[in-house]
Amino acid sequence: MRFPSFAAFLAALLLPLAAPCAPVVTTEHVEAQLVSDVKSAQPGKPLLVGLKLRMADQWHTYWKNPGDSGLPTRIRWELPPGWKAGEIRWPYPTLLPVGPLMNYGYEDDIVLLTTLTPPADAAAGNAGIKAKVEWLVCKDICVPEKGELDLVLPVSAAPPEKDPRFIAHIERAEDMLPVDAKGWSSAAAIVGKTLVVRITAPAGVAPPDKVTFFPEREELIVPAAPEKVAREGQSLQVTMQLADPPLQGVTSVAGVAVTPAGWPGTDGRKALQVAAPMAAALPALAGSIAAGGSAAGGIGGSLAAALAFAFMGGLILNLMPCVFPVLGIKVMGFVEHAHGEPRAMRMQGAVFAAGVLLSFAVLAGTMLALRAGGAQLGWGFQLQSPVVVALLACLFFVLALNLAGVFEWGAFAQSMTSNVGARGRYADAFLSGVLATVVATPCTAPFMGAAVGFTMTQGAGLALAVFLMLGVGMALPVFLLALFPALLKRLPRPGAWMETFKQVLAFPLFATVAWLAWVLGAQAGNDAVLALTMGLVLIGLGAWMYGRWAHAGARWQPALGALLAVAGLAVAWPPAGGAAQGTGALAAHEAGWEAWSPEKVQTLLAQGHPVFVDFTAAWCVTCQVNKRVALHDDAVVKAFAAHGVATLQADWTRQDPRITEALAALGRNAVPVYALYVPGDGAPRLLPEVLTPSIVLAALERVPPPATTVTQR
């Protein structure tokens, strides 16, 4: 601070004649001066003039809304004929607590800006600008003061030279003006005895969490009541205490939102201009469109809605390609026993449900614990680990071989469960519950996204409740079948057809193995795939030996078989550092899709392009199905091009904290998520988890056609 003022002093010495005259008026508590960053005025061209107020230590003057007491500074301009003055442009204020009251104002020094416009026909010569200024300056007492300030600016047709004495002052004041930032939106509502102002960040931008809101109207809130700031995903919410009695007929809330760290994407400007329209109630966060009969709504932080969504999502999970094969096995097991004792059946159903719920609890508990430890994880996180993927592939391979009839569990299973009868079947039911849950994770059913996303913002207890509700939904159909075996009586009696059906069920499982191998390739590279498949060959060999000789009563062959299977597992185990070699970026393989980054979204939006982001992962089955069915559909591809929509792919196959954060900003914690950003709109539109071409086309219809022909890269 010293140096520039010294430089200004030097400059003032060197340019005594050129510098416009701007005398300082000194009152008891304030030094006031009119300043401009230019040395001359150009006819017809607006220029900025600042009222510089330097307050005595600990004294303050006021903002346009002074808060509980005080008075805003007032300027009455006396200008040469034809000159026009605008309103005062107020830099953002600071909070000035006085006892139990709160004021909004300025300490130390401040420059209040006004735009002056000389007439187009202003004659050359000196223009005398006069301002009659009144301010109330307070510390523990208040003193009204006033001053008549002068500024003489020569009028000249030449472009004005900058006045080095005051550039810094004017620039600092301009920097403190509230910025009308592009892409930020806001809304307000009265909730009980509070006023809530919600500010939503543009696409891909995380809003700050330390914000002070200064309303422009005095009678709106209780300034001294502490404001509460909450951040939910893309939005931040400031809750203020309404004035008593509340102001009537408010249609919008204008004000300035100040964050010490600066608003992202505004060159560090600390104050945001807010003009929030008043709504009866604020819309749900992370709002999305419902199209094609499939709803995927934001749930706006309601626990009841999250639980309901989780329950429905769990129910639908049963029909998703991940769980269905496993379910088939389970139902077939029921058929086998359906004509037996109903009580045992019911127990089995209950045990299956217990298996599902326990697995959900373990999965969710692990995820929450890791997340509490700082890890950025979401639904399906375990599939981000190549080891888990490889192990799952081995498990499914063994199950498929079993179904195909290569071997029977036989003696092996019997040795694990002492009683082949009821207890063995219970173990079987429990394990199928576990299995169903494990295989369910690569799938995301409709409704699930919002429910799982909800857990991001909640404590562990509520999050666990939502996950358990997901399990309840998933376990319910099988449980009901077990509870009412009469439903199964319609199925054919067990017989030879069952053997055939069982063998047929092997093939969806083999397909699952093939897909898991592909996932591993994306995560850990080609070598890991070879290791896995070689491991599978060994496991196959072992299973065959076991099956071939176990019933023949041979001794060493089954043992060797089991040993080979273990060796196969060891071979299939992916290398620890393999992740780096993964082919990773799915986008690299697909024409028309580029890799996602938050910066790219912002850049494209800033250039006026709508952006469609596919948050996906190789291990996400739902994602792959949507891609084939909807995103690669010819009509959809053409519609993307016709609307000039840039298509980005965010690949969550491996852990990526940036993607987890972006998902959280959208109120989600699972893939797939499809987000359509339109320039000028605040929050993106979210599409449902299960896509059809018509859903995507309907969403794209809402995108305004490109104003000019888009010249794409």
Partner: protein, 199 residues
């Protein structure tokens, strides 16, 4: 500044809790204070009468505006028979604006002011109960003991004596409407002035 602001914010909830509001239509908070002679004064002593409360601090330029122009004294005189005019001073003893009862008495005499009583509220409890934020701030209590008006004295927010002429005086409007048996059309405004000098 920042740690200080954080400290103040942290301390605020307690302060705000104590800070009330006496919105129109609600029963006026009861109080018991002493006047400049040390005699007790309670709101309930004036049951059945219209009461005007005027928050005062002669150190405040906004208060000075209404006394130096003679505006406040004129109001006190004009309504002296119809209402009980209680001037309340909630300035804390630690404030540079604090004056002892004797000094206040001589200032009152000097201005020729005629409140029914001048009440000392240096702990600030009555001011806070009424949500008194500024000096002056005016509260009118109707004969049934309910708040009829709470807010500014008039609509010219300044310290300029000239602004008294031509200003709409909300207290006059409220009292005249009450006299005519009409509901108070502007029962609440945002008060202006110096902050009440609470601790």
């Amino acid at each position: 500044m920042k740690p200080l602001a954080a400290l103040v914010l942290a301390a605020l909830p307690a302060a705000v809790f104590a800070f009330g509001s006496a919105p129109p239509g609600q029963p006026a908070p009861a109080f018991a204070l002493t006047d400049l002679d040390g005699k007790p004064a309670r709101l309930e002593d004036y049951k059945g009468r219209i009461v005007v409360l005027e928050w005062n601090n002669f150190g405040c330029p906004f208060v000075q505006k209404h006394y130096r122009s003679g505006n406040m004294q004129a109001l006190q005189k004009r309504y002296g028979n119809d209402v009980v005019w209680l001037t309340v001073n909630s300035t804390h003893a630690s404030s540079p604006d604090y004056r002892k009862p004797a000094a206040l008495q001589s200032t009152l005499t000097g201005f020729g002011a005629h409140p029914a009583r001048y009440l000392m509220d240096d702990p600030g409890t009555v001011g806070m109960a009424y949500g008194a934020k500024t000096t002056p701030q005016m509260v009118v209590i109707d004969a049934s003991g309910k708040v009829a008006y709470n807010g500014a004295i008039d609509d010219k927010r300044s310290t300029d004596l000239e602004d008294v002429k031509g200003a709409k005086n909300y207290v006059v409007a409220a009292l005249e409407e009450m006299k005519a048996g009409k509901p108070v059309s502007t029962p609440s405004t945002v008060p202006y002035g110096c902050s009440v000098k609470y601790r």
